[in-house]
Subunit: 331 residues, 2 copies
Amino acid sequence: MATIFNNRDPDFFIQGILNGDIVLLSRAITLVESNNEKHQLVAQKIIEGIAGAPRNSFRLGITGVPGVGKSTFIESFGKEVIGQGHKLAVLAIDPSSAKSKGSILGDKTRMEELSVQKNVFIRPSPSNGTLGGVTKTTYETILLCEAAGFDFIIVETVGVGQSEVAVGKITDFFLLLMLAGAGDELQGIKRGIMEMADALVITKADGENLEKAKVARSEYAHAMHLLQGSESGWTARTTLSSSLNNYGISEVYSMINEYNTLVTANGYFLLKRREQQIDLFLSAVNEQLTNKFYSDKVIKEKIKSIKNLNADQNIQPFLLAKELVNLFFKK
Amino acid sequence: MATIFNNRDPDFFIQGILNGDIVLLSRAITLVESNNEKHQLVAQKIIEGIAGAPRNSFRLGITGVPGVGKSTFIESFGKEVIGQGHKLAVLAIDPSSAKSKGSILGDKTRMEELSVQKNVFIRPSPSNGTLGGVTKTTYETILLCEAAGFDFIIVETVGVGQSEVAVGKITDFFLLLMLAGAGDELQGIKRGIMEMADALVITKADGENLEKAKVARSEYAHAMHLLQGSESGWTARTTLSSSLNNYGISEVYSMINEYNTLVTANGYFLLKRREQQIDLFLSAVNEQLTNKFYSDKVIKEKIKSIKNLNADQNIQPFLLAKELVNLFFKK
């Protein structure tokens, strides 16, 4: 594999991707995901090369706990999206894949109907790195997909970890899928994720579940109302859906369309993307500075000894920080 | 003022503070708050000198929007605390003071009854710095108060800014004061603050307000329930209080006592403090590294030009970060 990639001129990838070549798009994503330094260099040049490509896309983040029916929802919703004339890319971040070898990657039957459609590109991403690493990889994958002509990007993640925060930083709209039932399901959703949501969709609202779903909807709508307040001018919504009956699916598309119209008109769409870019830049600077610091041998040893202290031994956090930063820059 | 401080040997402060000298405690806090480099050096030595002092204290963070009756609550609650045999320090962070010359500092009638009590030390802190700066100053002020024998520390802040996040990082228990009425009061509380709360107290639950307060209590209890989930083993509570009728005040003390007993027994008390210390250390390292980076002249110029770009011009956040960090370390 390494030889195929190393022998390629970045321009070969760039031209291919801009022409919508899915095979080269897929290989470029693999380069972006690779930890190999040579791959990284090629990936960087490809990303630079596609920088000028138009980005009139919509980026949708979708999250929900396992069992909420995320794949089924995306399958139904994805068909609606391509039916509306979009080219759709579905990127799945699987925080469990590094440990369990991939619940998303492993499930071959996933989105079977959607994956065979024209104008659909589905790509699971193993998230075997830091949060910053996941953000970078996924963000650059979005850019590559957009350069290849995909104008509707879904970034999917399992709502049990920190990757939702990353997704919130790189998408235009954040959709939280919830199960009907007692309010306790929210326990499975980490603090803060509900607050990020631009809309909450209660799935499996069919059959015996429908009444429960309606109750849950009003409960969540109330909780969401208490939490809201956004500069976008958008008020978060709570809706019902059933992938079984194809109920509430096209409504989600209409809702997102409505959001898009609103924020395009009031300028929030571009403003949010710019804020995201600045935010990503600052985080990346931060991560790189701290990486250099914490990978220093002497610093490493010092920190190891601090973390080994008993809980009842006091640390002077600010003095210690000053001491170590000074030590780092003296060398 | 500078001469008084500069001529003092740090040991003079250290001994005085350890002997419970309030005047020297107060001056040491002024040194900690000072931006003067010489003061900072003395302050640092004092903090180092008191590092070994016992810290069997309880640190309580209290926040709420203006008008919630924070001062009145703390006045009533403070009397309960000293009645229970504690030495009480009340530290007030006022995020508005830098701009408005201090709504807290300006109000001389504030906590009049409490301030004349023995065993009470009240100290407003102008928060005229960064969030990290506020955290550092307040944290070191807590250490100084504890070294002077204060075993119950209240850190008070106005629930409209980011300083609550800082308070959450340096206290053992976070109390959110709320007004009765429609659920919309929550709009005044920034996202995430409610989630930080270990307890929510609805104030002014008296007279005509009592029924409204009871309704609000059940509404908030529900919202809190949806948000909770903590490794402390503690479930957040919602209670009513009236400083007018001295109703529900001693119950707050009992509740905090109950929390303290629980987390002391299960080890979470020390664990949380250790996690806070590590967290403060990492944040401080972070802040110092980024300060060095962003105060670099060349970097400053580059970033200025990036921020001046139009919203529709794309930035490559990760490439840019790499480029600038490399530039910084080459010099």
